[in-house]
C-alpha cells in the first residue's frame, strides 16, 4: 500500500473513533438524565427534564430518603428479595440442570431423549402461554415466597440451561470419566470431582444468562409471589406507578437509579464473561 493511502486510512480511523465516541456519549445520555433527575422535586422531572437542578428544583437527597419507605414498603426489602431470588434461582438452575444434563448426555436412553426434547421445546414457549396456569399451580403448592419461587424458575428456565450443558458434555471425551470410574469413583463422585470442574466455562455462560433474566424479570414474580409481602425491584417500581394518586417522579427516579447500580457494578466486574455468555446463548430469544 502506498504511503498516501496509509495516511488516508489513518485519518479515516481517527475520524471514525471520534464519531463513535460522540455516539457513545449520546448513548449514555438517558442514564445521565436519570441521575440529574433523582435530585429534582417531583413536579420538575417531566417538565424540566433536561435542565440541571437549580435553586428551585434541587431537593438534595430528599428523593433517596423518601424513596426508602415509598409506597409504605421498605426499599431495602425489595433489594433483599431481588438478591435472594436471583442467587437462589441461578444456583439451583446451575446445579440441577448440569447434573441432569450429564445424566441425559451419558445415559442417552429413550426417556432421556424425551426429556431433552421437552426442555428444548420449552425454550420456544412464550411465558403468556403458561402465565395463568403456572401462577395457579405455584400458588397451590405454596411456591409464593422468595425462598420457594426458585423452584418455579428452575422449571420454567431449564430449557436453555439443559440445551447448553448437554451440548457441552457431549464434547467431553468419555475417557476421563472412565478413568475416574476405574479408580473407584461412584457416579456422584465422578460428577462432582471430574465433570463439574470441566463444566466451568458453560457454568459461567449459563449463570450470567440466568442472573440477567431473573434479576430483571417482572411478570413471573409479579404473578407468583405474594405481592403484599414480597416485592422485587421491578415489581416495586411498577407498583409505585400503578397505584392511585399522584406519582412521585423524583422518588421513583431515585429508586430506579438505586436499582440499576448493582447491575452496572456486576457488568463492570464480569464484562468479559457477560459478553461471552451472551454470544454463547444467542440461540434463545
Amino acid at each position: 500500500m502506498s504511503q498516501k493511502s496509509l495516511a488516508k486510512e489513518k485519518t479515516f480511523k481517527t475520524v471514525l473513533s471520534i464519531v463513535l465516541a460522540v455516539i457513545c456519549i449520546l448513548y449514555m445520555l438517558p442514564i445521565g438524565t436519570l441521575i440529574i433527575n433523582t435530585f429534582k422535586g417531583s413536579t420538575y422531572v417531566k417538565s424540566e427534564t433536561f435542565a440541571l437542578p437549580n435553586a428551585q428544583s434541587f431537593v438534595g437527597w430528599d428523593n433517596y430518603v423518601k424513596g426508602m419507605t415509598f409506597g409504605n414498603y421498605d426499599f431495602w426489602k425489595t433489594v433483599l428479595y431481588s438478591f435472594t431470588i436471583t442467587i437462589l434461582s441461578s444456583a439451583m438452575i446451575l446445579l440441577f440442570t448440569s447434573m441432569a444434563a450429564w445424566f441425559i448426555a451419558r445415559v442417552d436412553s429413550k426417556v432421556c431423549r424425551i426429556i431433552y426434547y421437552l426442555c428444548v421445546f420449552s425454550m420456544v414457549v412464550p411465558f403468556q402461554m403458561v402465565m395463568f396456569t403456572l401462577s395457579k399451580t405455584a400458588d397451590t403448592l405454596k411456591l409464593n415466597t422468595p425462598w420457594t419461587i426458585p423452584i418455579v424458575y428452575l422449571g420454567f428456565g431449564a430449557g436453555l440451561a439443559i440445551f447448553m450443558f448437554v451440548g457441552f458434555v457431549k464434547g467431553i471425551p468419555l475417557e476421563i470419566e472412565e478413568a475416574a470410574v476405574i479408580d473407584g469413583c461412584g457416579p456422584l463422585k465422578t460428577y462432582f470431582l471430574v465433570v463439574f470442574p470441566m463444566l466451568k466455562p458453560t457454568m459461567i455462560s449459563v449463570g450470567i444468562l440466568e442472573i440477567m433474566w431473573v434479576w430483571n424479570d417482572y411478570l413471573l414474580p409479579y404473578l407468583v409471589l405474594d405481592r403484599n409481602l414480597y416485592r422485587t425491584i421491578p415489581i416495586h417500581i411498577q407498583y409505585l406507578q400503578g397505584s392511585y394518586g399522584q406519582v412521585d417522579w423524583g422518588a421513583t427516579m431515585a429508586l430506579i437509579f438505586l436499582g440499576i447500580v448493582p447491575v452496572v457494578i456486576f457488568y463492570l466486574l464480569c464484562q468479559k464473561h457477560i459478553i461471552k455468555g451472551v454470544a454463547a446463548g444467542a440461540v434463545k430469544g
Binding site: 440441577f96 447434573m99 403468556q128 399451580t137 451472551v278 430469544g285
Partner: protein
C-alpha cells in the same frame, strides 16, 4: 487382566437417576409441563379460575372452539397482532442495520473499540420495566415543550417503543455480529483487496455472505423479541391511548402479550377462556417462527 469396556448406560449411574434427574424433572413438571398441558386444556373451557373450568361442548364443534372464535372476533386482539407484527418488522430492520454497522466499524481495529463495545452493550442489562420508565421520563420531557405527553398520539408511542427497544438491543445484536465478523477469514479479505475490489464490493461480496449465519440468528431473535415484548410496552404506554371504537375500548399501542395479559387480569374475569385461547395462538405464532429459524439455519449450514 482383561478390562471390561466401560459403559455408563449400564453402570451404577442408572440406579441413581433420582439424584441426577428427579429434582429437575419435578421442577420442570411444576414450572412447565403441567401448566402447559393445563393451558391447552383450559383454552377449550369456560372458567374464571382453574378449579371451576367446564369444557365447552365436545360434540358440538362450534361450541368446542368457542374461545378461539371469540379470540379472532375480538378487535383488540386482531389489532394488537398487526401492531406487534408491524413493530417487530420495523424494529428488526432498525436494530439489525445499526447493530451490523456498529459491529463492522468496531472490528476495524479502532482506538477505543473495547470501551465503545462496553457502552453499547450496557443498556441490555437493564430490565424492561426500569427502561420503560427512564424513557417515558425522557419522551415526556421532550413532548412537554409542546404541551403533550407520549400517550397523546398513538404514533409517538409506536416510535417511542422502537427507540427504547433499539437502545436496549443494538448492543446485544452487535456482540453476535462482532463474533461473526471476526470469523471471516482474513486471507479472503486480502485476496479481494489484491484483486482490486472496492470497500463496498468487499462488504457485499465477501463479508456479508460470510456472516450470513449471524444475520439469520439476529433477524429471528429480533423478530421473536418484537412479538414477545411485554415489560417495555407496559411501562412506556400501557397500551394507551385507549379510545372507544364501535363501543369497545381499543388500546392503540397495545401489543399481543399485553393484550393477553389484560384479557386475563384486567376487567371481566369471564373472558379468561378467550385469553387462554389467545395465549395458545400466540404460542403457535412464536413457536412457528422458531421452527422456521431452525430450518433456515440448518439449510445455511449444509451450504457451507
Amino acid at each position: 487382566m482383561k478390562r471390561k469396556p466401560y459403559d455408563l448406560r449400564k453402570g451404577p449411574i442408572r440406579k441413581q437417576w433420582w439424584i441426577f434427574l428427579l429434582p429437575l424433572m419435578a421442577a420442570f413438571t411444576i414450572g412447565f409441563v403441567w401448566p402447559f398441558i393445563q393451558g391447552i386444556y383450559l383454552s377449550f373451557c369456560t372458567f374464571t379460575t382453574t378449579s371451576n373450568a367446564k369444557l365447552n361442548g365436545v360434540m358440538n364443534n362450534k361450541a368446542f372452539f368457542n374461545n378461539y372464535i371469540k379470540a379472532f372476533q375480538d378487535p383488540t386482539f386482531v389489532r394488537s397482532f398487526w401492531y406487534s407484527a408491524l413493530f417487530a418488522v420495523v424494529s428488526l430492520i432498525i436494530i439489525n442495520v445499526l447493530a451490523f454497522t456498529v459491529a463492522y466499524f468496531l472490528t476495524k481495529e479502532l482506538k477505543g473499540s473495547n470501551l465503545f463495545r462496553t457502552v453499547f452493550f450496557m443498556p441490555n442489562l437493564i430490565g424492561g420495566i426500569v427502561l420503560g420508565y427512564i424513557w417515558s421520563m425522557i419522551f415526556d420531557g421532550i413532548l412537554h415543550i409542546y404541551g403533550k405527553t407520549l400517550v397523546t398520539e398513538p404514533v409517538w408511542g409506536f416510535w417511542g417503543l422502537v427507540i427504547v427497544v433499539a437502545w436496549q438491543q443494538i448492543g446485544y445484536m452487535m456482540i453476535i455480529y462482532i463474533a461473526g465478523l471476526q470469523a471471516v477469514p482474513n486471507d479472503m479479505l486480502e485476496a479481494a483487496k489484491i484483486d482490486g475490489a472496492s470497500g463496498w464490493q468487499t462488504l457485499w461480496r465477501v463479508t456479508i455472505p460470510n456472516v450470513m449465519p449471524s444475520i439469520t440468528i439476529c433477524t429471528f431473535l429480533s423478530l421473536t423479541n418484537g412479538f414477545k415484548l411485554f415489560d417495555q410496552n407496559l411501562a412506556l404506554t400501557n397500551g394507551l391511548p385507549k379510545p372507544f371504537i364501535n363501543g369497545v375500548p381499543v388500546g392503540q399501542t397495545e401489543m399481543i402479550a399485553l393484550n393477553i395479559y389484560n384479557t386475563f387480569y384486567v376487567g371481566n374475569t369471564s373472558a379468561r377462556g378467550t385469553a387462554q385461547a389467545k395465549a395458545v395462538l400466540f404460542f403457535i405464532l412464536v413457536a412457528g417462527l422458531g421452527l422456521i429459524q431452525l430450518s433456515a439455519t440448518r439449510r445455511k449450514e449444509v451450504q457451507q
